[in-house]
């Protein structure tokens, strides 16, 4: 079946012929079949619209501009009850992204650590990690999330919050940490400058082909400290510590992590770390023993072999699997709805409930997730095709 595709195209082929070749055998049957499917889909869509009419509704997205009169537990941007639904959905979407990004990072760190611990050579430790992987991968994620949220509920009440470090609190309301507030000016030029310095150091390092000398490091460090300090002084930026303190009913100030977010984050990280540990293991196993031996024959240390020989090859197996795991994790952020983390699904369901636009709101949800997952999926496929072209793996 692959034969036709594998054949090199004839030298001078007209565009029409190329399309015909792409379209392949049974041209008419295909066209009729696809047309039939399209017609069925159109009928079903028309039916949905008709059903809505019968219930006195008409499909529209006007509700996005109407005020949403409910509050949301946590938000990255300013949101108050009465803002439009579109903004409420944006709040939910940002929460989803926040959870997805933090979750992927934590799961990866944890998973890689576990994968390496398992390969570290202590049988008992390897057994413990293996048991962890077994337990986590063989129980429903939903159940695990119930467990984690129940665990956060066992933390001490806010008035008896634990203070493991000065001004860091842990209570049933979440984790509170000190933060720095910036007033009276902009801080982003400092960040931009630091990034520039880092890039410059990297570039110089590459050009020189040797590590930087102590003096050169000193210059870079001085620039990285003095210039921002000068900017802060000149721009009138005031930095102040924002310390969490118990005031009234709650701990206020600082930055906080709600228990619902923490439970989702830990739950997803623990679950997907087990997957990632397995991916790392299978990636390392995909590199033949001969590679290790060849490295040793060249007189390289174990760590250098891992870094220079094994990992680059293992990454070919790991990268697509890891990416699709991240995608799965992102999709599973929707489970937040089960334990009270207000992500995009929760907001959209509440919107559907208050506006009656259930069909439209669910369509918004579908579009949101497709616009995240289709590009990632396309990237994975492209990567696999690239490897296949290079003959690394059979695709």
């Amino acid at each position: 079946m692959t034969d036709a595709r594998a054949l090199p195209p004839p030298a001078a082929e007209s565009r029409l012929a190329a399309v015909r070749r792409w379209w392949g055998d049974h041209a008419l049957a295909q066209a009729v079949g696809l047309a039939a499917v399209t017609v069925v889909l159109a009928v079903l869509t028309a039916n949905v619209v008709a059903s809505m009419r019968r219930l006195g509704m008409s499909p529209n997205f006007d509700y996005l501009a109407q005020p949403a009169n409910f509050d949301i537990s946590e938000s990255l941007i300013v949101y108050r009850a009465g803002d439009p639904y579109a903004r409420a959905i944006l709040v939910g979407l940002l929460n989803t992204l926040k959870l997805a990004v933090c979750g992927c990072a934590l799961a990866t760190v944890l998973g890689v650590t576990l994968g390496l611990l398992r390969a570290a050579g202590n049988p008992l430790l390897a057994r413990l990690v293996a048991t962890y992987v077994e337990v986590v991968r063989n129980t429903p994620l939903v159940l695990q999330l119930f467990f984690w949220i129940a665990l956060t509920r066992m933390a001490p009440p806010v008035r008896q919050a634990l203070e493991p470090l000065p001004f860091a609190y842990l209570s049933v309301r979440g984790v509170y940490l000190p933060w720095i507030t910036v007033e009276g000016g902009a801080i982003w030029p400092v960040a931009a400058f630091l990034l520039l310095v880092a890039l410059l150091v990297h570039e110089i390092h590459k050009r020189l082909g040797r590590p930087l000398s102590a003096t050169e490091w000193l210059v870079a460090a001085a620039a990285a400290i003095l210039v921002p300090a000068g900017w802060v002084w000149a721009d009138g930026v005031r930095l102040s510590a924002d310390l969490p303190t118990l005031r009234g009913f709650n701990i206020v100030g600082g930055i906080s992590l709600t228990p619902e977010f923490a439970a989702m984050l830990v739950g997803l990280a623990v679950y997907y770390a087990a997957n990632i540990a397995e991916i790392v293991r299978s990636g390392l196993q995909s590199v033949t023993r001969g590679q290790w031996e060849a490295g040793r024959a060249l007189g390289l240390h174990r760590a250098r072999i891992l870094q220079l020989v094994v990992l680059p090859q293992a990454m070919r197996v790991i990268t697509p699997l890891m990416t699709s795991t991240w995608l799965d994790l992102t999709k599973d952020t929707t489970l937040g709805v089960l334990i009270g983390f207000t992500e995009v699904t929760a907001v959209i369901k509440t919107s559907a409930n208050n506006t009656g636009n259930a069909v439209e709101t669910i369509l918004v949800l579908v579009v949101v997730f497709l616009s995240i997952s289709l590009p990632v999926s396309a990237a994975i496929n492209a990567y696999n095709r690239m490897l296949a072209r290079r003959g690394v793996v059979t695709s």
């Binding site: 692959t2 295909q30 202590n122 008992l124 939903v142 999709k331 259930a358 669910i362 497709l370 999926s377």
Partner: protein, 360 residues
Amino acid sequence: MTILLEDARLAPPKAERWRAAAADLFSSPVNAVVTVVVAGLIAAALWRFARWAVVDAAWSGGAETCRQRSGACWPFVASNAQLMVFGVYPQDLLWRPAVSLALMAGVIAASMIPRLWSATLALAWGLVPAAVCILLSGTFFGRPVSTNEWGGLPLTLLVWMIAFAGAFVVAIPLALARRSNMGGLRTAAIIVIELVRGVPMLVALYVSRFIVPMTAPGLEINLFVSVETALILFVASYLAEIVRAGLQALPRGQTEAANALGLGYWRTTQLILLPQALRAVIPALVNLGIGVLLSTPLVAVIGMTDFLSAVREAASHEQDWPGCYTTAYFVAGLVFFSICFIASRYSRWLERRLRAAGHG
């Protein structure tokens, strides 16, 4: 027999392996410290668990005993077993879900014995869910019981079985279409697979609950049917990719040899390619099966009383059984774990067996 010999040749004797492992435990100072710390952690965790599950647990009596003991509340499990296992199925007809459970367990167990793999077994995968549906609904005989009242473990297994068996029927044509040289067909298959894989299962379930019923005005689409439709499509989109991988892994010589024998596309696919491709991806299939089973609790979100939600329902009788959540969740977790652990061990055993037999 040859397989046993292979295994014996590959692995050193058990005693030797133990000795080697024991030596590794204390091979360096760092390793020794790690071993002691890990052993301590394991012992502490086991002890805490034993106290909860055995020493401090209430074993007999009623809610009063549970209130006094700090550990697990086993009498709660005993007195709520019916609700947890069978959900809200009518009490006088419990033999139906019980027989259903036995039927489905039987087919699943039979499927784990490679000697029994046959067309008949494939047929059983289609017929048993159908029989269970007839049995639970009471169609053709006895009192009808609506799908809304199905629940508990039989429902979980049924949802899983139909989704998985049905997915095969959809996934194989999808996989073949995606590998076909017909551009239109291939594009259609890619669109279906990528669109369905692109949304979370929860969103797919919302679509099945709130939009699918509206696609056929006048026809009242049962929640169970629309959920299964969504799940079949959802699982099929993952399954199709697994089947495709299996097909891709086959050497091109297979097709060429079949063509040389004068077999057409369908005969080649049916007799040569699919059997080999499916055999090669069995471990991936088992993993997908486990994944789907572990995702079935999500159907609770749209109002089906699956096993986990029946357990939660039982646990919500808080005024009678204070703090029974932990025990209830533990039982639910244990049931899921037992099923999936056996399945994953089985998958690993099968993988070794197939590789040893030269099919991998």
